[in-house]
């Protein structure tokens, strides 16, 4: 999918606005278009996106561009902070009954959302905390669901209470509580069959369980890959049976996971665990901060940006005129030299290229990683052997000039030719921006 990460798009949107001190309504409107698209492509629910962007718009208009950041980065930061807030801010954890008394947890969710696996994983996790859990096999519908629970529980050495498939889940739950009390377990985790939130009969079953026994924590399992429907699923489950906390499953997939944001936003319930694999220990606490980055598709973009910002010392004007020459494919050897020298101090070329449309952070990092220091030194020698006029106007280059430059740099003429050819190709390449550069691992200069 032709989806660039949000930060890249925002950089693009804002490149013309660089150097502004204050965000105008128009800046923010433009930025919010990108944010909106990014969130929608990440599967954040339509209404949630709508509320979110309008809230950010209000906050952002007229606010100062944050110190050291350009407008695009300022907006990203605002968006990110707000997302983290929406995702719950702090880490949340399951709430237990005081002391050693029994805490009853009930799993619920759609078919295939990962309840059974999660139930076992949680029991394993709680054991690390010194809590003894009993698992109740309440999925009497799906063929072999009880086998699955038993086999997995056995792997972790966790006890299972089962009455087969001929008894109603309500009765199973009731008996399981008795059993858990008798056996002095600290936690009872009831696995239930997957069900659709619109299936009245099946939803009533869960209500019935909660009438018959005291459930302290009802956990809703949500597949991280869920689309727009996540909101309806979560709010229906909450409305009908009452949900206390969420578990996000299959976060090891490469979905952006906007569903997490949606369900969190509509239910206001905390996310207590995240499942990150099929192995029974693949369960983690949930980190709202990482999730926000993931939804925006920016990885550790902010820190990269910040690093680059600290290192760059090209002044604003030089940078801008360089970019404008770059776009026309009229970069000269001085520009090349400058960016190369900065490259050594890290972040230089990256930052300049970062102003270019369509160049992603990933490509930048890759490009920077490809740089060979020795080659850089040779290139520097070549440029320094040019006259001022040659550096300013690459068109002046001819065979006799090249010979002179090679001698000056102490290099073979072939090496000079190769560099100049690369440089010229880079120029051509840049003229075809932004389309060409996108997805291309090499930087335009090819070093």
């Amino acid at each position: 999918m032709a989806f660039e990460s949000l930060s890249d798009k925002l950089q693009q949107t804002f490149k013309t606005l660089r150097g502004k001190g204050r965000l105008t309504e128009e800046d923010v409107r433009l930025a919010m278009k990108d944010v909106r698209m990014a969130l929608l492509e990440a599967d954040v629910n339509y209404s949630v996106v709508k509320d979110f962007t309008s809230r950010i718009r209000e906050q952002a208009v007229g606010s100062d561009v944050m110190n050291g950041l350009n407008p695009a980065q300022s907006v990203i930061k605002l968006v990110k902070d707000e997302l983290v807030e929406l995702l719950g801010g702090e880490q949340a954890e399951l709430v237990f009954q005081p002391g050693k008394s029994l805490t009853v947890i009930m799993m619920c969710g759609l078919q295939g959302s990962g309840k059974t696996t999660t139930a076992v994983k949680i029991a394993g996790k709680l054991r690390e905390k010194g809590k003894k859990s009993l698992l109740a096999a309440g999925d009497v519908y799906r063929p072999a669901a009880i086998d699955q629970l038993k086999i997995n529980a056995e792997k972790l050495g966790v006890d299972v209470f089962s009455m087969g498939t001929e008894v109603s889940p309500v009765d199973i739950a009731e008996k399981a509580v008795e059993e858990a009390k008798k056996g002095e377990y600290n936690v009872l985790i009831i696995d239930t069959a997957g069900r659709l939130q619109i299936d009245d009969r099946m939803m009533e079953e869960l209500q019935e369980i909660k009438k018959r026994i005291v459930v302290h924590q009802t956990l809703l399992a949500i597949d991280a890959m869920t689309g727009q429907e996540a909101v309806n699923v979560a709010s229906e489950f909450d409305k009908r049976i009452g949900v206390d906390a969420l578990v996000i499953t299959k976060l090891d997939s490469d979905t952006r996971g906007g569903a997490v944001l949606s369900v969190r936003a509509v239910t206001g319930k905390p996310v207590v665990y995240a499942g990150t694999g099929e192995k029974l220990d693949a369960i983690e606490l949930f980190y709202p901060d990482r999730m926000a980055d993931r939804i925006l598709g920016m990885g550790d973009v902010l820190s990269l940006i910040e690093k680059a910002e600290r290192n760059i010392d090209i002044d604003e004007d030089t940078g801008r005129s360089m970019v404008s020459r770059m776009k026309k494919g009229r970069l000269n050897y001085n520009d090349y030299l400058l960016s190369m020298q900065q490259m050594k101090g890290m972040g230089g070329l990256k930052s300049i290229l970062g102003l270019m449309p369509g160049l992603g952070t990933k490509q930048l990092t890759e490009a920077a990683d490809q740089v060979d220091d020795r080659e850089l030194a040779r290139t520097e020698a070549i440029i320094l052997s040019m006259t001022e006029a040659e550096r300013d106007n690459p068109k002046l280059m001819n065979p006799s000039r090249k010979r002179r430059i090679a001698a000056g740099a102490g290099l073979d003429i072939a090496e000079v030719n190769r560099f100049i050819k690369k440089f010229e190709q880079g120029q051509k390449f840049m003229k075809q921006m932004p389309g060409m550069l996108r997805g291309h691992g090499n930087n335009p200069f090819g070093f």
């Binding site: 999918m1 032709a2 989806f3 698209m37 929608l40 492509e41 990440a42 599967d43 339509y46 759609l110 078919q111 295939g112 959302s113 990962g114 519908y141 799906r142 063929p143 072999a144 669901a145 009880i146 086998d147 699955q148 629970l149 038993k150 086999i151 997995n152 659709l196 939130q197 619109i198 299936d199 597949d223 890959m225 869920t226 689309g227 727009q228 429907e229 996540a230 309806n232 699923v233 229906e236 299959k250 090891d252 997939s253 490469d254 979905t255 952006r256 906007g258 569903a259 099929e278």
Partner: protein, 314 residues
Amino acid sequence: MGLFDRIKAGLQKTRQAVADGLGDVFIGEGDIDEDFYERLEETLIRSDMGAEASERIIDKLRDQVPENHLRRRKDAKKFLIKDITGEMQNAPDAFDFEKERSVVFVTGVNGVGKTTFCGKLAYKLTREGKKVILAAADTYRAGAAEQLSLWAERAGCDLVQGNPGADPSSVIYDAANAAMSRNADILICDTAGRLENRRNLMEELKKMDRVIDKVMPGVRRENLLVLDAVTGQNAVSQAKGFAGVTDLTGIVLTKLDGTPKGGIAVAIESELKVPVKYIGTGEQKEDLERFDAETFVKAMFADDTSEEVSEDDW
């Protein structure tokens, strides 16, 4: 009940619960204005069609409106249905494999409904008089073989399985040989769920794929990817990932009884050109339907008041 009615009934159930039927955007005598386009965009995005595909479809409609002198919202509906149907395809030979000797190879991520689909398909084909063999090549998930064997019982067909933890390719190998020696019409291979970003697991799938070709050379292949209809844009990445290891011939969209959406089918078809072939509409053995693009799209946009959208030609 015909397919259309079944989908529609399912959707109506959903709609009562969530009150945001996709057809609602066309209700009323309103004109086609900006408000309409905005609501239409919302509708399409809510169906999981994806922001990009939605934009493309709306842009097309924006061109068609003046060209065809459309004014009323309900007039736009026909065009929209046609446009979206046009993004999908119905190959006339889509189900030929059911009539021939063939191997159905079923893949997908965890929990989407692969095993259930294999069971339902086995049931359908057995009932139609075919000799079917189910291969339980999910040797990884606890209880997976037991689950499929219960389905084999329901369907009344043979099952080939291996020991838990065995190499799934060895199960496939045995099953393929059994299919040859027992002269089965159709071999249906269930596989373990795997995320498409797990390289080694995808390699494992490739190996199974090769084993089938080796033991049953020249036998018709039907490689189906199962997708949960509730999945968002990640479904596209799933489809791409699996298409990279087996030559996908079709998509199975499950759990459509729970969602009025399934717009993801449109996104996938237009991006990968792999047709949806079956839809799952419940957990019972009969809850499997052949997919028909037009029926599906019409049902998606069906609302209780519209007349022109009915089960006319099927």
